[in-house]
């Protein structure tokens, strides 16, 4: 399954601005004492959970896949991620842009894009190693046709070059390239978002509509187009950014109305019912043909409106029931997900790698359900341990909130938005 990841750690950055209201303060963040002195842990929590779901979805043979949200509605963890990433990017770089200007903020955004590019190429190397191993060890006349997928090993020059220019993207490695493009285009978008948020959001929606009308997308190698069309998915990213820069507050009346809640719940129930018909074939006959004519295919590449709406419904219900000062956010039970969400670039990459490794183990040892569960649990534990290790590094390097010494460029060294 497809996935996505989000920006890295924003913890120290956020802590520097602790005391400033995070969500929904439309005014410049400078020197506005906020009622809530804590950062919005909900962002980290849901990003962390989405990271786990993405990891589980990436292991094709996994009974735990049945617990991931894509089986219960139209949208999946990808939407959560792109949205939260847009939100945190606007929060962190928006502040940088206001305080230090367009040039500095843009430079930092582009450096972040570069880091993600390097991470992507690193994952690509691991993927190539796995492919080469399969090509060298696996043979079966039954799969003469399928083995042709390995043909690109015969042309490493072309393949590697196409990967470097982000045209060749192996399965499940589409999200980082989407991210890179979104970040490359983010400086001017952010510039407008800060000054004319409504105008920026309308522009983003217009690009989305034009994409649907004229089929814009980027070309892929050896054929086709990008699996995650950046021109469509930017809508979710910009919407997240818009929410971070005051949009959420503007929406708060809508978010708290009973009508919104009712509509959102109805839509989620509808999406669940439809999803059920994908897995329980006989239920298909209850879907009227005019509905399926209109509804299908639900296009992930171009972020189908039904998916976007499903994400909005999920978000509306979540915001309604999980308030930012909910005590549960401080409980040790949710801590592991929050820590993972705070180091999302690292944990995302680790998750992709662990999914490769887990799948490799399953195919080498023909793993049954027990092995699948063991691998899934072990993978999530490794993700949690690594996230804690990264936090610990930040402590010993004096970049953590607990370190009293504030380094002026602290956020530049490690994770940013």
């Amino acid at each position: 399954m497809r996935h996505c990841f989000a920006y890295g750690d924003i913890r120290q950055r956020m802590n520097m601005v602790a005391g400033l209201q995070i969500a929904g303060s439309g005014t410049p963040a400078v020197a506005r004492p906020a009622p809530a002195a804590e950062r919005d842990l909900r962002l980290d929590l849901f990003r962390g959970i989405a990271l786990w779901l993405i990891f589980l979805d990436h292991i094709p043979e996994n009974i735990l896949n049945w617990f991931t949200i894509r089986n219960y509605g139209f949208s999946d963890a990808t939407e959560i991620f792109i949205f939260i990433s847009g939100y945190t990017a606007a929060f962190v770089y928006g502040r940088a842009m206001r305080e230090r200007g367009f040039l500095v903020a843009s430079a930092r955004i582009l450096r972040r894009a570069w880091q993600i590019y390097v991470a992507h190429i690193f994952l690509f190397t691991i993927f190539m190693a796995e492919i080469a191993y399969v090509a060298a060890t696996f043979d079966n006349p039954l799969y003469a046709e399928e083995m042709r997928i390995l043909d690109f090993l015969k042309q490493p020059d072309v393949t590697i070059f196409e990967a470097l220019i982000l045209k060749f993207k192996p399965v499940n490695m589409d999200v980082l390239p989407l991210y890179i493009i979104l970040l490359l285009l983010f400086p001017p978008v952010l510039f407008v978002l800060i000054r004319q948020p409504a105008f920026a959001l309308a522009g983003s929606a217009l690009v989305y509509v034009l994409t649907w009308s004229f089929d814009f997308n980027l070309p892929a190698y050896p054929n086709g187009v990008w699996f995650f069309n950046p021109f469509a998915w930017q809508l979710l990213f910009v919407f997240g950014a818009w929410c971070a820069l005051g949009g959420a507050q503007r929406l708060s009346a809508v978010l708290h109305s009973r009508t919104t809640l009712a509509v959102a719940i109805c839509y989620m129930v509808f999406a669940f019912a439809i999803t059920l018909t994908w897995y329980v074939e006989p239920l298909n006959r209850f879907v009227p043909s005019w509905l399926s004519e209109w509804m299908y295919p639900i296009d992930k590449t171009n972020l189908d409106v039904l998916r976007f709406a499903h994400f909005l419904a999920l978000a509306a219900v979540t915001v309604r029931f999980v308030s930012r000062d909910w005590q549960g956010l401080k409980s040790p039970i949710l801590r592991p997900a929050i820590v993972c969400g705070q180091h999302s670039l690292e944990i995302f990459c680790l998750g992709v790698f662990l999914a490769f490794a887990g799948q490799f183990i399953i195919s080498e040892y023909s793993g049954g359900p027990l092995i699948q569960v063991a691998i899934s649990v072990a993978g999530i534990l490794i993700m949690i341990a690594t996230a804690n290790l990264i936090s610990w590094y930040k402590v010993i390097e004096g970049r953590s909130p607990s370190a009293r010494v504030k380094q002026p460029d602290a956020d530049l060294a490690g994770g940013e938005a």
């Binding site: 079966n140 039954l142 799969y143 042709r148 054929n223 086709g224 295919p297 992930k300 023909s366």
Partner: protein, 251 residues
């Protein structure tokens, strides 16, 4: 000498024991084979003309490599199974295998095949070549859509067959999205889907076949094709309501 004889006898015994062990069954759960849709053209050809003419159109996985690959591949196995189940009916299965053809390329050749074979049923195996060369899914969708219309307009039933379940290459190509498109197109056209992907996964899970096995040997590949041919025959007979005829003629 005695020793040699003993060893030979022992080997023969073990051999016999192995041969006697029943192969795990490759039966397919009925849910994979039943459908809301019917093969009306095939049924009427059988009933009115005592013929069943089938064209199989597909890529590499509709055949087996090697000189006698075709003889052991599922189209030939299907013909045998149908012939056995429908005595008195002349069953003819013609396979048109274009190893690397994408669905768009196969769609171009459809009219010629329909004109030559005059089938009452077309089994169209697709998706694998498209997934390998990552053909744009919208393009895949429209090629399949137009192709199915062409076949239906020519007065033949359609069974769409999706890709093989191939666990070793699963991480390298995304077949599920293409399989979803095929399911969708089949539904839109009230055509049948032979869910080879699901059926083979079911065999792998039930232990009927270990599809992770690396081997140069053809035995397993042939048996898989035989089982696919039999499952296809069962689906065709069930969905064209020829069970009754099968009962009648075998009684």
């Amino acid at each position: 000498m005695t020793l040699l004889v003993t060893i030979l006898a022992a080997v023969a015994l073990i051999d016999g024991a192995v041969a006697a062990t029943p192969q795990p069954s490759c039966d397919v759960p009925q849910s994979f084979l039943s459908s809301d849709y019917e093969l009306t053209h095939a049924a009427s050809e059988v009933k009115t003309r005592q013929h069943l003419t089938i064209s199989v159109i597909g890529t590499g996985s509709s055949s087996l490599p090697g000189p006698d690959g075709v003889r052991f591949a599922y189209p030939a196995q299907l013909e045998q199974a149908l012939q056995k189940d429908l005595p008195g009916i002349t069953v003819k299965v013609t396979a048109h295998v274009a190893p690397r053809a994408t669905t768009a390329e196969m769609a171009k050749g459809l009219e010629q095949i329909l004109a030559d074979d005059k089938p009452s049923l077309v089994i169209w195996q697709a998706g694998t070549a498209d997934a390998i060369s990552s053909v744009d899914q919208e393009e895949f969708h429209s090629s399949l859509d137009e192709g199915v219309s062409t076949i239906q307009n020519a007065g033949a039933d359609v069974i769409l067959m999706n890709m093989q379940y191939s666990p070793r290459t699963e991480a390298m190509m995304d077949v599920t999205n293409y399989a979803d498109v095929m399911r969708f197109v089949a539904q839109q056209h009230s055509a049948l889907l032979f869910d080879r992907l699901g059926i083979m996964r079911n065999w792998n899970d039930s232990g009927a076949f270990d599809l992770y096995t690396a081997t140069k040997n053809y035995d397993m590949a042939r048996r898989v094709h035989e089982c696919i041919g039999r499952a296809l025959a069962a689906q065709i007979i069930g969905t064209s309501h020829l069970d009754a005829m099968k009962m009648q003629t075998t009684r």
